[in-house]
Symmetry: C2
């Protein structure tokens, strides 16, 4: 919507996979959201701009190939992946779906670009989760290594905490291979967890709001804590709560995509940018939600529970994130005002909160 509003010709291709597995996982979002065709119609009414919607599966090469043959795009933003870590850890079938959907979508995209639009700039959604939590500083995608008196530059070593995040490592390996062999132009945006409900389009019509998942499988920890705060449930800190990640306002996600589209990667370049604006531990996040809740008269409790995941609960975390700032990113930080605004939205929909989908339903290692 942002790109269409700015005057670009936009085609959106989706097969509703996330919607289907959200439903199959009993993980409905807090706020109902119209489907893509309907959102496109609402957007056209509100903004006077059209988005061409194609309903199809990116793992079917014909679908991608025909779309690329018709559009010959200058750029493609690749979000066509199963995005939930807990879902990928929930069963054999979910794991297999995640691997095959994510890797085949990426593979087909590469070939559609090679076949129909070789100059097309591929903007790939990566994730900070690919790096895991190493004991050294996390650089932006690459690492200069000196070993026994000799030097080379490598992809920064990756070691992820869920199968989903591991599939994003496959994507990186695959894209980097074809960048070297076929001179693709690729920008990999290593995104941290995103929060926020306000966008320019949501202000046009509330039905154009971003999705708001709060359950244990598709929700982020931010949304889960906000919903628990409103519902009078203790914030479920997993284990010691020292797990630290880089967070990002959805306004900045949109800004970042716009900035890299305006400044494309070179042919034969895999440009990797760490896309977050501030690092927070789970405990710090819980404290912020409690503080914001107090402004609305909510008495927010924090309650640690045993960690359903296998992960470091107290670790070093110092990732570089200067690349997007250098391109012009103006961060919107997670202030109390932002959290209060989100809490207010949750309050409006509090009757839809389902307590039973907030607690962990998926355990790592079983």
């Amino acid at each position: 919507m942002q790109l269409a509003a700015a005057g670009h010709e936009v085609t959106a291709l989706d097969n509703y996979l996330r919607r289907q597995i959200v439903e199959a996982s009993n993980s409905e979002p807090l706020i109902e959201s119209p489907d893509l065709v309907e959102r496109s119609r609402i957007f056209e009414e509100a903004a006077g701009r059209t988005i061409d919607v194609v309903i199809g599966d990116c793992t079917d090469y014909q679908v991608l190939s025909e779309t690329f043959a018709r559009c010959r795009p200058d750029a493609v933003v690749h979000y066509a992946e199963q995005p939930s870590g807990p879902y990928s850890m929930s069963s054999f079938d979910a794991a297999r779906l995640t691997i095959n959907n994510n890797l085949n979508s990426t593979f087909n995209l590469i070939w559609a670009v090679l076949e129909h639009a070789p100059e097309c700039h591929i903007v790939k959604l990566g994730t900070m989760g690919e790096y895991g939590t190493p004991n050294i500083d996390i650089e932006e995608g690459w690492l200069d290594i000196e070993h026994k008196g000799r030097k080379d530059r490598f992809l920064y070593p990756r070691q992820a905490g869920s199968l989903y995040h591991t599939t994003k490592i496959f994507d990186t390996d695959l894209l980097w291979f074809y960048v070297r062999m076929r001179d693709l132009r690729v920008t990999d945006l290593m995104q941290g967890p995103v929060y926020g409900v306000t966008t320019t389009e949501a202000e046009l019509d509330p039905r154009l709001r971003p999705n708001f998942h709060y359950d244990d499988i598709f929700g982020t920890v931010v949304n889960r804590f906000l919903v628990q705060a409103v519902a009078g449930l203790p914030l479920t800190v997993y284990g010691a709560g020292g797990q630290t990640r880089g967070y990002l306002n959805i306004l900045d996600t949109l800004q970042c995509v716009d900035l890299v589209l305006q400044n494309p990667a070179e042919a034969g370049e895999l440009r990797i940018l760490n896309q977050f604006t501030e690092s927070l531990s789970v405990n710090e996040l819980a404290d912020r939600v409690r503080r914001a809740g107090r402004r609305l008269g909510l008495d927010v409790q924090i309650g640690a529970i045993s960690n359903p995941r296998k992960e470091a609960e107290d670790h070093y975390y110092n990732p570089v994130h200067t690349g997007l700032l250098d391109l012009g990113l103006k961060p919107h930080l997670m202030t109390d005002d932002v959290l209060v605004e989100m809490l207010q939205l949750v309050c409006e929909h509090r009757d839809r909160i389902r307590h039973e989908i907030v607690m962990p339903r998926v355990r790592w290692g079983t």
Copy 2:
């Protein structure tokens, strides 16, 4: 056959995928080879030991699951992959088959072990090609990195030269993930190109010989050079010929598998061993074949051709390979005697040599 001869109960599971794509690629081996069922029968007659043969596809979970449920093996040796770099670079369909076959076989194997034999030692065929040709020494799978005054240990950075080799990187990422999450026992044998035609079983009956491919797609450079020497064709050095790899006699491949089975990895351990015995450049290999040919009165010419691959033709290469020596490996090196014996076998079958499948049919980057 070696394991059955030593008294182990052996089940072999294969779907003849390699045979099928060898045929579809017009890449028949120099020497005809009976199928697995027939080889098992010949072996039983010659050695008095049975091998249980199952014809089935490892990408079909039911097949693997039923086999594991029945056998509950102490160890599994995983060779169930599409193994040709050039094939993986030959078309969209070949690339997609390579990715999906290799990753789904590995994925299903992991789950069959978890479901039916969680203590089973997985011996995985890796490849030295996963490392590529970095400008620093190649360690055995792992690298200790010091960065800005802090330290951590990582999977050695991988950057492969074909899509096939890239799928082996996916395998490593996937196995390492489930080792961490589910305490699998895994040994990854990072094998270099294998040569040799003599094994204990081949001495029982020549129909039990290893496969001998010499074409550009399934053959190794060693076999191609031997066939060219016998056929009076110049040895086709790709480009400058400084491409250096670690080679291995098939007798040592068998020894290595035996050694690691006798010394399994611990639960929760991904043990990575570099499996080769000597490093040679393509030019050095060509010189050796010429020298061995002279002993048989062959006048061997060497002719460089433009490189069909995208690869470094002159590079640093210093990989560590002490792990298997420490376990007891006694190397059989590539002496003139070994090459002469292979040349003699090729001479016996010289009327089957097809000149048209020796030159490159697949080019990288098109």
